[in-house]
Symmetry: C2
Subunit: 485 residues, 2 copies
């Protein structure tokens, strides 16, 4: 039977919870007195619908149903999970819990999204304190897996285990906090950084933009994959975590931040940290960790390149500067070099070589370059016309591994009317490792149907096709799968 979640308090956080439950197949019942609640939560759910399902490599269960209720009692009646995300005022939260507990099942989980309060504060004057825990998520709730789960001795272990199982089922990572403190764990770091940032701005050292750049072009990229200690373990090198701590210990006494209430770095504390780090990462050598870090950084940076954002936008600008202007060669008596690049770390697969989809990505880049050379550039596309691929035939003749430099040459087999028929050859050194034959059709982006290209494009393409007609017909052209070339 479909499970029911009650969302008490919408907004960005409550809406994010609603979206996650809904897209994971739960029925969701919302109580929020804000007359705009339905619109606001709807917007968050729209964002989630466009991003979460495709994040998964399998189909998610069918979406649950979403209902809005005028009373808390209606919203929580059939719920096995009740998530409270009302404003951060303790008295308000306690009042909400009183009402919730008058109407909800006694074995339902009541999770609070509070970022600051301890669960004992929330349980304070509750009818059934054992039912209330902190489940603190991070925005956007529908994409970030972290949820801090904090209970007290009032909450039975079996109850906490059940709560963790539900959160895991939602695709989240419940981090159970060992002892309750103000602001749990993650927000303590956020608060420390926030305080330091306020000092930097107040003292005129940096602007908000400069602070963000200092994060997203540097350690932010490290923290997306390894966090603080695993990163420092690598920095410590073969000498290990103890060495790292001892080396940086003295800085605790220095004004490297304005936040000077520091713990004493005793031998016990050093041993504790080094031991925990061994337990966490000791199964990897430093060399393993370095390579995992670099693989992760390359895949993150290349993803940001594709989005042309942050560090990825920087890298795209650098590529453009390295390459210089893109111009059609004067001499058209040879196939045109359309790609020259090294194979990235994240293009290889379980067979240890470039994955087949990446061959087509590289051939697609070669096609994109041909499009630019004939005049189908970003402006042309923005004006409403482009080329779509109708058909592709790839032959694999050799292998290529990460780091190998590949070069693609492109021959225009036909360039007339709506058709641009291309033949790409991919070389690693002198070896031909693959061919790609592609039929491109010129289209209107409005009708999504074939149409004739601009006169100027047709002329340029025709000129190349005429020159390439003199070239020998390459082996493999016009062949079907399984027919010897």
């Amino acid at each position: 039977m479909t499970q029911v979640a009650a969302i008490i308090g919408g907004g960005v956080i409550g809406g994010g919870w609603a979206a996650r439950f809904l897209l994971m197949g739960w029925d969701v019942r919302v109580f929020d007195p804000d007359p705009e609640a339905q619109r606001k939560i709807g917007e968050v759910i729209d964002n989630a619908r466009r991003s979460l399902p495709g994040l998964s490599d399998v189909a998610l269960p069918p979406e649950g149903t979403l209902q809005f209720h005028d009373t808390i009692s209606d919203a929580v009646a059939d719920a096995t999970w009740i998530q409270e995300s009302v404003p951060e005022r303790l008295e308000l939260k306690r009042k909400v819990f009183q009402t919730v507990q008058s109407h909800c099942a006694h074995d339902a989980v009541i999770g609070s999204s509070t970022s600051g309060f301890k669960p004992s504060q929330l349980q304070g004057c509750a009818t059934r304190p054992d039912q209330i825990i902190v489940t603190h998520p991070f925005n956007p709730v529908y994409l970030l897996p972290l949820v801090e789960l904090v209970g007290t001795s009032q909450n039975p272990d079996a109850f906490l285990d059940r709560a963790k199982a539900v959160l895991t089922g939602l695709g989240m990572y419940p981090l159970q906090v060992r002892a309750e403190i103000d602001a749990h764990i993650a927000d303590r770091f956020l608060e420390a950084v926030w305080r330091e940032a306020l000092w930097l701005i107040k003292d005129g050292i940096a602007t908000t933009q400069e602070i963000d750049d200092a994060i997203r072009y540097g350690f932010g990229l490290r923290w997306a994959q390894m966090g603080l200690f695993e990163t420092y373990r690598i920095a410590g090198g073969e000498a290990g975590m103890r060495h790292f701590i001892e080396q940086f210990g003295p800085a605790l006494a220095w004004p490297w931040t304005k936040l000077m209430d520091v713990p004493e770095l005793t031998e016990d504390l050093i041993a504790q940290i080094a031991g925990q780090s061994d337990a966490q990462s000791g199964q990897y050598s430093i060399r393993d960790l370095e390579r995992a870090r670099d693989d992760n950084l390359v895949t993150i940076l290349r993803g940001l390149k594709a989005q042309n954002w942050g560090a990825g936008a920087l890298l795209n600008r650098h590529d453009a500067a390295v390459e210089g202007a893109i111009v059609l060669p004067d001499d058209l008596s040879h196939p045109i070099v359309t790609v020259k690049r090294a194979i990235p770390l994240d293009w290889t697969d379980y067979n240890g070589h470039m994955n087949e989809a990446r061959y087509l990505q590289a051939f697609g880049d070669a096609t994109d370059r041909m499009m630019i050379l004939v005049g189908c550039d970003a402006d042309y596309i923005a004006a409403g016309q482009s080329y779509f691929t109708a058909e592709t035939h790839i032959r694999h003749l050799g292998e290529a591994k990460a780091g190998a430099v590949i070069r693609i040459t492109t021959q225009v087999l036909q360039g007339q009317g709506k058709k641009m028929h291309l033949f790409h050859q991919m070389f690693a050194g002198d070896q031909l490792i693959a061919t790609g034959e592609h039929m491109m059709i010129h289209v209107s982006l409005q009708t999504r149907r074939a149409c004739l290209p601009s006169t100027s494009l047709a002329q340029t393409l025709g000129r190349i096709a005429a020159a390439h007609a003199a070239l020998p017909r390459p082996a493999g052209v016009g062949k079907a799968v399984g027919v010897k070339g």
Copy 2:
């Protein structure tokens, strides 16, 4: 003419600089008295060679030459850039600068990798203080773009501009710090977080593993792309940055961290931050920023899935739990459903639909699933045999946009000897949007040559092929590009 960089002090940081200069086409001359320097720097350069060139979508210039020198004077003689990365002892650094300046060109840039010292401290007793600046990079230097550039009034503007141009040419982002302070900008945050982390461990609230998880499953993913203020601007929503600061201002007085030396949140400071945030991100609406953030998060998370690391490993475990056991259906009288998924945000391109390479990625996933179903799973591959794709023919019959659910069915056309000939059909709803015909060859991963599969695999594949032989031959099989199906 090839430019020359001198690296004074190897190790992880000096080696990272050497690697970046070298791979960007500079000649590199190293001085490091450590007898192990050549091996250590060599290891860093090896890491850089496997990761940096493929990060770029264009071919980098040919690698420069690497030389090791016994004296500083030889290393710096022809250098236009001298990078000092010796241990963090002021007297040692000053001594190195004395020697460097006795032998280097007067217009060379002398950059220090110091994370803590201010440039005025480094310039203190130098012969030519105008030539010395802080250029503080982040590990791994060959991948992370950030470098903090800090000068003093002694450094002419034209000199600083030239230094910035060189760093930009290396693919880095020089963040010029407005006023020198201990630890510059980024390390102040790292130090604040480090201090907070020490408290959490000392107080028994969290282990190193739990702290890293709190970072890499949560805000670390946000910071890889937007940093602190742009993220909070989104959290503030349409009400804006001022609203966000006013809302969280009171927490400064609360024990949300143990680092309590906080600045006063005056009206002036609030206005300053809100104004800077407008200047930084005001060109985007909150809705734009939310979508950019989600696009970036999806691409980062999917990259980490491909690496099966961190938040990506979590997501893979969730996918596996949603999907359950993978088993061959009993009824083989229909093509087998091998993929069912939503199209991720990062699979679309400038034409607004799924990019051609992603069609092959999805067909490749379908082929992978067929391999598992016939018995060519991870264990089989680890034992030394697999299938390679020899040939592929894709026909595009319709479009699909991000979020659309696609389904791929697979028919075995031939499954005999070394060959597995597959025909995939991709549907969006009821519409056939693409077909993929693939010739797979069974290979030995040792010889990289064709060989017969195991008896068990051959039997399973044969059984499917026999059942599928009764199915009608799909339209489009055995066709060449441009030949009507």
